[in-house]
Subunit: 418 residues, 2 copies
Amino acid sequence: MHIDTSPGAVTRVPGYRAAGVACGLKQSGQLDLALVLSEHPAVAAGVFTTNAFRAAPVLYDEALLTRRPPPLVRAVVINAGNANACTGEAGLHDAEQMARITERALGLPRDTVLVMSTGVIGHRLPMDKVEQGIYAAAQSLSSSGGAAAARAMMTTDLVPKEAYVHVDTEDGRFSIGGMAKGSGMIHPALARPTSAEKLSHAHATMLCLIVSDARLSAPVLQDALDTAVALSFNRITVDGDTSTNDTVLLLASGQENVREITPGREAHRLFQIALNEVCRSLAKQIARDGEGATRLVEITVCGARSDAEAERAAKAIATSPLVKTAIFGADPNWGRILAAVGRSGAHVEPLHTDLWLGPIQLVAAGTPLDFDHSAARAVLQQPEVAIRVDLGLGAGAVTVWTCDLSYKYIEINAEYHT
Amino acid sequence: MHIDTSPGAVTRVPGYRAAGVACGLKQSGQLDLALVLSEHPAVAAGVFTTNAFRAAPVLYDEALLTRRPPPLVRAVVINAGNANACTGEAGLHDAEQMARITERALGLPRDTVLVMSTGVIGHRLPMDKVEQGIYAAAQSLSSSGGAAAARAMMTTDLVPKEAYVHVDTEDGRFSIGGMAKGSGMIHPALARPTSAEKLSHAHATMLCLIVSDARLSAPVLQDALDTAVALSFNRITVDGDTSTNDTVLLLASGQENVREITPGREAHRLFQIALNEVCRSLAKQIARDGEGATRLVEITVCGARSDAEAERAAKAIATSPLVKTAIFGADPNWGRILAAVGRSGAHVEPLHTDLWLGPIQLVAAGTPLDFDHSAARAVLQQPEVAIRVDLGLGAGAVTVWTCDLSYKYIEINAEYHT
């Protein structure tokens, strides 16, 4: 299964058009409003931040997706430069208006548009600019607009994140294409919506839109998304700070003439694998482009008493400033890694613990080995670094992704002013 | 109650002598071995890191203090420059030898010496240098040696941390003097020893020795230390990384002619207050001297449903890299503070939340106020910054201390090489 990360992923999926325009939300004048249209009414699924302070667009989408029966969706509108967060009841009204304006601009029925926002907080959306941007985007929708849309959702991202795959099955071909943004305030803890709330206050971070021409029912699509997100976005961290705007949306527009993908069929298994791979590719692209990152770090903890304990240990390593600065400095400081594992709450027997850096084993049965320091430093100087800890206690295992912590992270976050 | 933070705290307490010497454990040639002697056998209490990987000296002290009846202690030996961590069975033997050599050098009975180590990991202690240092320190013990001892335990610390207080009670006067070290890998999670283990692997960080001439039983002393630590060392964080060597030891040498401090007496209440203040002073000194720190940050969360929820929220703020970099940049970025609270797991009702920066209220009932940005920036440019969040839900409240996150933190930790 080949994941294509070249530009234009969402419009590579048949039946989708997209656009990215500049409407003045970013002071830089760069693209800041993305619009994606499905030619056919699409089944939709979503997962949203579990942060207690949730932004207006998050609350809007949650309310729409928890209706029974769930509405079919035709478009997603995304703005960058302003998160529509901590803007009170007025902000919730603005999020609704983004949907209403998009419906009007595209001639769609009510409640067929989902909304995402990212950017500065505490400021009302300049709705005149947003409206102008939505109409401009609606005018320029095209089957080659995916790349512009992916750029329009970026904030501190250095590069857009895209992933596309198509799969041929006994039931025919399906395609999945996704685009994501995110660089700082990255520690997603996403869950399916369970209830709608009235208002929130928020900050911007990781957004992802995935589209497919497959045909699935809403519950099956939501289950597939939950599974994929648990293995991808919920396993990355840049700075341990879970945002209040995190959102992943998934549309499936397959029509009557397409065979429905139902659990138990081979096509269902392949859809899940393909979705997992798209999500994992996008998640790793986010970790690699973490604020100030110079390395992508893949951390595997195995031999834990459970997967949950493995995840606690892996995330303790992934969020440790001492581990992340050591990686930035290319220092094979295994003591910091063991210390993070030791504070994680995972059950540990020191004399059962092994540790590898890439192919080099540094610790065996809790005892430091006499390893080649310059070889270990060379491993750490690669753009991708793998750390593996075997707790030697059970079958629990997990892999998470993060990045190193550099001077540039401080610069980005200390010199960014509200 | 006046806390004196000037040099020489431990030897300001009657009945204690101390020394700090250089024996070559630090490549810089600076003081690296501290010795503190109680003229009288002292009751001892201790709390130790809850990290699963615990260093040899931690295991040695835990084993001694959990004996029943607990032994009376005469001296504490502390080295910096080498943590005696991840050194296996041999390291445990070295920790024991540090105690044995100290007993020999001072003519003390067996099992009357406690040990602390801090510094680089994974290297055996050069026991010849340690032995030479212990004998040199034993020779130079004096009632003015407290300041040198406090300097000898430093690693990346820029300044020594000391605190002294004396209190006159109806039962007579008692003194408490303490010294601490710690700058990075600071997120203590300390608990009284419950069992001894065989071996560990570790890294160095916060150490503290407190001495008193008061007379208390071992259980009463341990209870007092537990209470004080919960309000002080367990409420600071520099980088969220709990060390494997964290240790706080408390000696009380009061003799037969001193009235025993027992629960219910006024002197007991005053002892607890004095010990709390000494520990809080030392803890705040550690946070203020956190690696790369330019500000001491005091974070209070009140109005929580419980103290435990208040602590979760306060520690989420205190460990947030985005909050800490914003403080370094003197940016009143209240959105990052609310986002940290929102991910903390504490129960939050957005519309009940208030937020203050020093005297300036930034958020009321979840709604951003139109505050004076330059005044807020001025608050953040002070050496001490106070953040207060009122969740508006209950009586739970806690105060924790941290520091900002600067370029210097990256430099210290990326350019330090094992």
